[in-house]
Amino acid sequence: MTGAAAGRAALGVRLGGGVWIFLGPALLLMLAVYLAPLIDTAVISLHPNTPAGIDRSHWTTANFLRLVDTYYWGVLVRTLRVSIIITLLSVLLAYPVAVWLAGLGPRGQTWAILVYMSPWFVNAVVKSFGWTLILGNNGLVNNGLRALGLIDTPLRLMLNETGIVIGLLPGHFLFVLLPLWAALKGLDGNLRWAAMTLGARPWQVFLRVTVPLTLPALLAGAIINFTMNMAAFAAPALLGGTRTRVLSFIAYQVNLEELNWPFGGALAVAMLVVTLGFVMLAQGITARGLAGPRR
């Protein structure tokens, strides 16, 4: 049975041509509220900005040329660096947690997943304010370390890239953990037994059986994690501060504070292209991994 046919069977409906009636609303909604503004943003980015607004009678590439200016280039590199660090940390941390989770009983798994989901029960802004109470110069960590006599001057744990990583990691970690956990749960235990009966040590079983078989799930999770890091707004704004701006914040600032939509459009397009580029790269790696499994 193909995937689509299986999906229809699961729904319990024979749709035939009527499929468009059901797909239609969502498709129209996506076209109207997502694709149309996105295309308009791209078009606007090719017009000059004037004090009287967007000048749609002229075309220009100046907005894109401004992107290679050292300031904006620096912001782009910072955004990528922070996003990649969070994704790498999430991947490193996710394996042991997922292996542990998959070994728990059903009830234990439910509760543990709930714990890992808990950062999402709190609004991003409230969460970031919470972090400032912990990470600030007079926060929990610095006061604790000072009381213990370990430091004299406070550690800079926020208003820099460290703050952004600490603020985003707990929430975004979940998106690597969940697919990995599902893949590990679905893994046929016999494969591991088979490997061990053929003389593989536990670390060899992990590296040569478990990792290759769960790699697509890991990469899928990492891609979601990475795109979320790239687009994150509240935590970088509050925990990174004015000196550590990321691309999403600069796009907001240019659009909503400087009222320069054409340049804001160019920033948005650049962000989309860079993020999509990384996603496609990761998908390419996955596809290659699936086509030629390690032997």
Partner: protein, 350 residues
């Protein structure tokens, strides 16, 4: 699971669509009595919703006011510009500077004293141009955490802008960044302190560069500045005096001084071109400018209101005649360049 028949599903979908359409129609019908007011949340929301002035407006005019709140002046104007072609709001109020930038984009209509009689009661300084009037304003102040001052045995700041440069404040300052309205005021203030002006911004930028390494953070909003002053990670800030008073009311251990020459920050209001409810808009603006509402704003929030009948202004409107004027058109035209210098030469920690 038993298969669902196609016709049953279609009926359900059609029914849901119909009920949404009916509900939408009902909302549209009630709209003519509603005036949409695009401005800040914060104290305006408190005034209209919590302190009962929205209800008083309905009693006085028969219209209902619906607040459309944004966080900052530029955001308010960005929202107004975004709906230029098909406005959904009637009255817009923001900081004067972004308001003027919006006016350049032709989004407001001329205000006629015949329709809005309370305009006649405004001080001359409040009549900005045909499309814009000032409702009220604030004077800028130096805000400081008096507990930190006592602890460090610092002398409390004098009413002098040069106090911002005191060397012991290094590592304890919070200033709004130049890409916000108040940040522009910091820049202009520091330029004036050092012999420059908005027409000669160099000395201001040099002063900011000197201060930059000792600045804890450049907060963009009142709430954020309050947070740094509250937890003691900063001790001295620059913001409007009414915001400083509001911080103190919320239990943050701050006091403020209003240095001379007064630095006035105006709040402007106007009516959207092609507003959905132009009559309601005029009624609202007239009511908003009335002695009753403006007296309340002066009393509760320390606003310097522009209605000359108001007797409880924290500073008499006549005092504003002595303040230094700002060439707003020049500031708006120079903003982008100043922000560029600020982001590259002042902001980065070296």
């Amino acid at each position: 699971m038993a298969p669902i028949s196609r016709s049953a599903l279609l009926r359900a979908v059609a029914g849901a669509a119909l009920s949404v359409a009916v509900a939408g129609g009902a909302v549209a019908q009630g709209a003519s009595k509603t005036v949409y007011f695009l401005t800040w949340g914060g104290t305006v929301q408190q005034t209209l919703e919590k302190e009962g002035w929205g209800k008083k407006f309905t009693e006085a005019t028969g219209y209902t006011v619906q607040l459309v709140p944004k966080a900052t002046g530029p955001e308010i104007i960005a929202a107004a510009v975004a709906q230029k072609d098909k406005p959904q709001v009637d009255v817009v109020q923001s900081d004067l500077l972004p308001f003027l930038a919006g006016n350049d984009q032709g989004i407001f209509v001329p205000l006629d004293q015949k329709d809005i009689p309370n305009i006649a009661k405004l001080a001359p300084v409040a009549r900005i141009n045909a499309n814009a009037i000032m409702t009220y304003g604030d004077v800028m102040s130096i805000i400081y955490n008096h507990e930190v001052f006592a602890q460090k045995k610092w002398v409390e700041p004098k009413a002098d802008w040069a106090e911002l440069m005191r060397p012991e404040f290094r590592g304890s300052l919070v200033l709004p960044p130049v890409n916000t309205t108040y940040g522009l005021y910091v820049l202009i203030t520091l330029a004036r302190v050092h012999g420059g002006s908005e027409h000669q911004i160099g000395p201001g930028m040099e002063a900011l560069k000197k201060l930059a390494p000792g600045i804890v953070e450049w907060p963009t909003t009142f709430a954020r500045m309050g947070q740094f002053l509250q937890d003691g990670s900063a001790a001295v800030g620059f913001y409007s005096s009414s915001s400083a008073a509001e911080m103190a009311k919320r239990g943050i251990p701050v006091k403020y001084v209003v240095p001379k020459p007064l630095f006035f920050t105006g709040t402007a209001a106007g009516i959207m071109k092609n507003a959905p409810n132009p009559e309601g808009a005029k009624a609202f603006l007239n009511w908003w400018l009335s002695k009753e509402v403006m007296s309340f704003r002066a009393e509760r929030y320390g606003n310097v209101t522009m209605n000359t009948e108001v007797t409880n202004n924290p500073i008499p409107v006549s005092a504003l005649n002595e303040m230094q004027r700002i060439d707003y058109a020049h500031v708006n035209a120079s903003r982008a360049e100043w922000i560029k210098v600020f982001e590259r030469e002042v902001l980065p920690l070296k």
